[in-house]
Symmetry: C2
Subunit: 406 residues, 2 copies
């Protein structure tokens, strides 16, 4: 009789991503190009690392005074303080009034995971989560795994090839009272001041709990304050909220990625209660968070010279990326490619939609240019070596379908 196996019925898990990357890796054509990396890439096609990070890493390794003990359950205090100040500014009322705090989280999903677990237990509203974002993220799956009902909305309108800032407003209008609203990288939403005010007012009256995502502060517009500016609306309207602050892409610390689950409460007493609950969840998730990434980031943020160097490096990345977008647009124009390509330069951030149809995407993949179905690419994957081939291929793709579309 064969042994009964506990694992016999376990199927292979559905993969979240990776089939495009797999196809790219199996492609032997020398001209193959992958345009969907998650992080900023350098001209050499490697993940970008802020130079100041390299320097700091070496400095830390040579520091004989460093203590390698366990970090506390909530993580490094100085790291959390520096992260909060980066997000809100030193003189924000939430910091001055001791009602903003955070938990040092692990990896890029840690803060959503921790926040979702807290809300599952303590949020008294409906167990509905509405996610509004510019691009598909894994947050939806995290909330689903925790038993929430999840609705996802994209602010990119593929037909009009433009951002539709009304999506956020209409989602909030239709959302059930007492739900949770996740706004992915709010700087992408580009609401006007009066639109934000309307949003705040509706959210207040419907008691919607905001869970904001700041995935790469400084890499959207090149300006740290501008990228997190939307938080000020939530602060000034007196909201309680969570914010997932990820600090790996904007420092170029990928293998030690850390972040903070930021909590803003109405007063210090409530903040401490919430943090104590979060700590008990974090203990069951990982007990003590890893120190390396947070140590590098804290060193940079707490030293004005290093911080300035870091800011300049962010600005340089964004300027270069904007230049690439301009060049792509200009080359498509010179090739006489039908249609307007202004939407390329109108989008902020590293990732942007090319605005191509399914057929055009398929054409590009046949030309060994790997882009996803929704044609959102990472513009820093385009460099002086491959820009000619890429724009030529896009142009051909558009010409090839000129008479079959619209």
């Amino acid at each position: 009789m064969p042994t009964l196996s506990v694992f016999a019925d376990v199927p292979v898990a559905h993969k979240l991503e990776g089939s495009l990357l797999k196809a790219y890796r199996q492609d032997n054509d020398p001209s193959k190009i992958f345009l969907v990396y998650r992080v900023c890439m350098t001209d050499e096609g490697l993940p970008w690392v802020s130079l100041v990070v390299h320097k700091t890493r070496l400095q830390i390794a040579q520091d004989p005074s460093l203590v390698y003990e366990y970090l506390p359950g909530l993580g490094s205090k100085s790291f959390i303080q520096a992260s909060l100040e980066l997000l809100f500014g030193k003189h924000s009322p939430v910091i001055m009034e001791n009602r903003a705090g955070g938990v040092h989280t692990v990896g890029e999903s840690g803060s959503f995971r921790l926040g979702a677990q807290f809300l599952r237990t303590w949020h008294r509203g409906t167990h509905t989560v509405c996610i509004v974002s510019y691009q598909k993220e894994s947050h939806g799956l995290i909330f689903q795994d925790m038993g929430f009902e999840v609705y996802e909305y994209c602010i990119w309108d593929p037909k009009q090839r433009r951002l539709d800032s009304n999506v956020l407003l209409s989602v909030v209008e239709r959302a059930p009272s007492g739900c949770i609203l996740v706004i992915g990288n709010p700087v992408d939403c580009r609401l006007t001041q009066s639109q934000w005010a309307k949003l705040m007012s509706t959210m207040k009256s419907k008691q919607i709990f905001p869970f904001l995502d700041i995935p790469c502060q400084g890499l959207s517009t090149g300006d740290l304050e501008e990228d997190a500016g939307v938080l000020q609306y939530f602060v000034s309207w007196g909201f309680e909220f969570f914010c997932s602050q990820c600090l790996s892409k904007n420092f170029g610390i990928y293998d030690e990625s850390v972040g903070t689950l930021v909590v803003v409460a109405l007063n210090n007493e409530q903040l401490l209660c919430v943090l104590s609950q979060l700590m008990s969840y974090a203990q069951a998730l990982w007990l003590n968070p890893p120190a390396r990434g947070s140590r590098i980031i804290t060193t940079i943020l707490c030293n004005p010279t290093l911080q300035e160097e870091w800011k300049l490096s962010l600005k340089a990345v964004v300027e270069k990326m904007m230049l690439i977008k301009e060049k792509v647009k200009e080359k498509l124009r010179l090739l006489g490619t039908p249609g307007s390509w202004d939407h390329i330069t109108e989008q902020t951030g590293i990732h942007g939609y090319l605005g191509l149809s399914y057929q055009q995407v398929q054409y590009l993949i046949k030309k060994h240019v790997y882009i996803p179905k929704n044609s959102q690419i990472n513009f820093t994957c385009i460099n002086t070596n491959n820009i000619e081939y890429i724009t030529q291929s896009i142009s051909e793709a558009v010409f090839s379908t000129e008479h079959t579309e619209n």
Copy 2:
């Protein structure tokens, strides 16, 4: 009207531990001593770090060829391979037959957290977990949080002041069929070969799923193979099982603690299915694990000279700790302390029970010697500077209660 607060009903979380440490910290007496640190301590009262770790850390920081990209979801492949070989030996059938694998986990609870989540979904038996261990761990809370019914048993018999190896056997006899059995640091159980055989046979017939814990391989007996030797029984009896392998205490990497959730399946096909499911859970927990700790450990394990240095450093720690136990016993004897103190040297590992009563523990705390109610202490906290005071205080405590006890 005051704003309705989402956080208004959130109470302060119950603390898992720390009240004794808090009392110790608030104590201003210069002779105060804390004997319950989680990790090996040096003579200077600092957490022990294997010297080879310091060297490797510096070497890694100066390596210009290192790539700092995201690790894959399952973690560093070479780290997992090296960890598996450390646990089972290179030529173990489970490695040769490609049916042992692992997921790189974060912190000290990561592997139990991940394993519990998998079992919650895929284990078809009862949702009952029996935990047998030498000391109280946080595993019980992790399984409870995941919705399991948890029963915890301790193999230390405080009345007889000795390990009771029958506890494990009788728990398995009484456990419901199809339950999960967690064995904390199995080397502590000290079953004879025939007792293990009996245990295996009962577990097989009752289809009990083993989840083993190897928290500090090499720090129990000073011998790496001996500390993980029990796994060989499970392998040779053809079990499928999980094993939480923690690699922070035995390297002295506390601030970057990592481990592996080890999976042993009946064949490679099932192993890959289980790993793919675990990867999807890990993605929601942290997406990519941090690299630092695993990089140091892999460097040491894959270099025979460094590995040998590391092994010698483990042996030295254990020898020193055994010498301290001998000295404590001898000093208690010389002070004429009533009773036998052989149980101190009979216990392996850093943590051991002094075998004191509640009143005696209270006496010690009044003398500023901080030990927990169950009198289990970390023997590496005792050093040449404090041994006199500690043994004197223990002796006084025993004398003081001589006529009130037994």
